[in-house]
Symmetry: C2
Subunit: 219 residues, 2 copies
Amino acid sequence: MKIPVVTEILNANAVVAEKNRTTFIEHALLTLNLMASPGAGKTSFILATVKGLPKTVRPGVIEGDIASSIDADLIAAKGIPVVQINTGGNCHLDAPMIKTALPHLPLAELDLLFIENVGNLVCPAAFDLGAKIAVVIASVPEGHDKPYKYPGIFACADVVILNKADMIKPFAFDVDYFLRGLEMVNPNVPFFVVSSCTGSNIEAWVAWLLEAQQNFVRE
Amino acid sequence: MKIPVVTEILNANAVVAEKNRTTFIEHALLTLNLMASPGAGKTSFILATVKGLPKTVRPGVIEGDIASSIDADLIAAKGIPVVQINTGGNCHLDAPMIKTALPHLPLAELDLLFIENVGNLVCPAAFDLGAKIAVVIASVPEGHDKPYKYPGIFACADVVILNKADMIKPFAFDVDYFLRGLEMVNPNVPFFVVSSCTGSNIEAWVAWLLEAQQNFVRE
């Protein structure tokens, strides 16, 4: 087993990620890389977030999926600029895929770019896309042990969302146990318990996001 | 980007998978590779299945996780022979990991071996472990679009389980839509809608499994 080739691929990715980062800075475009298990509610979370944004903050979306345009169709139906990337089997997005998608978005007219990664709690963590903020979304039905079992992705998060909060009781979800696991791998990471479905606590997350966006523009 | 190295790794895996397969045949041990998203309920499904088995059918378990022994502890608490594999970051189990785990199990005393893969709807599909039956478990809270978005893993399944059936109503899960997607990638694959939590329909799945085990022993 030769490791060098893997290193080469990761290096090539890092070079393109750096180019993407420069593009985002040039356009004062705060970019989020949303990572989660399949079915954690990434698309619903994007839609709930956009609903909570002031009209002056203009969002765009890149949808990453192995196949289908189900999520991009949902986003487009709300009139949000969106590009679908089909990885055709690849378990994560990488920086070159994002670079290819960018010309299809009106970057100069956007303030926030949401990149929805392929549903996967492992591989996306290893690929820098050039995004400013790594958002890891866990969902209640997955169980409260996820930070213990998938420490790598939680460790790389700039902010952690616990989604489907309306299901905490039916699933006997122990938020304290989840948080203790999260603190072990990523102490003091910003953390929001929300329901994209009911909208509960989305406003706290949106306030945090708007402050991050203001700070990014000032930089 | 050079592909040959990846091919080499997969070939090496196939060689060891073949050795594992021979070991399983020698011990008349029917082996299942359980693949699912994080939190789909793989461990609960194994426990519910074991509870439904006749006493004469002796199970063993290999638990695959990136980190922790949470699942193996649950299995061991029921007195079931179990080995934990921590992949230390790897997003899937591979055949050499299984080969390393086997000497720690009393193979001659087992009739069924459940291998719980790392929670991931993509990568495990590419790695043959030597198991006879590929079981893909979807769970209701993940949403009914999974076969459309992750066709590769559903295509490789010998049997598909839809778990957490007690949550079909709260999540407005459309079983027909799920099944139409499944039929597109894997027509006529055996399919069971169960709840590991309430035990509903586990007996139908166990009946199927026992027949598969009988057929395997006869071969």
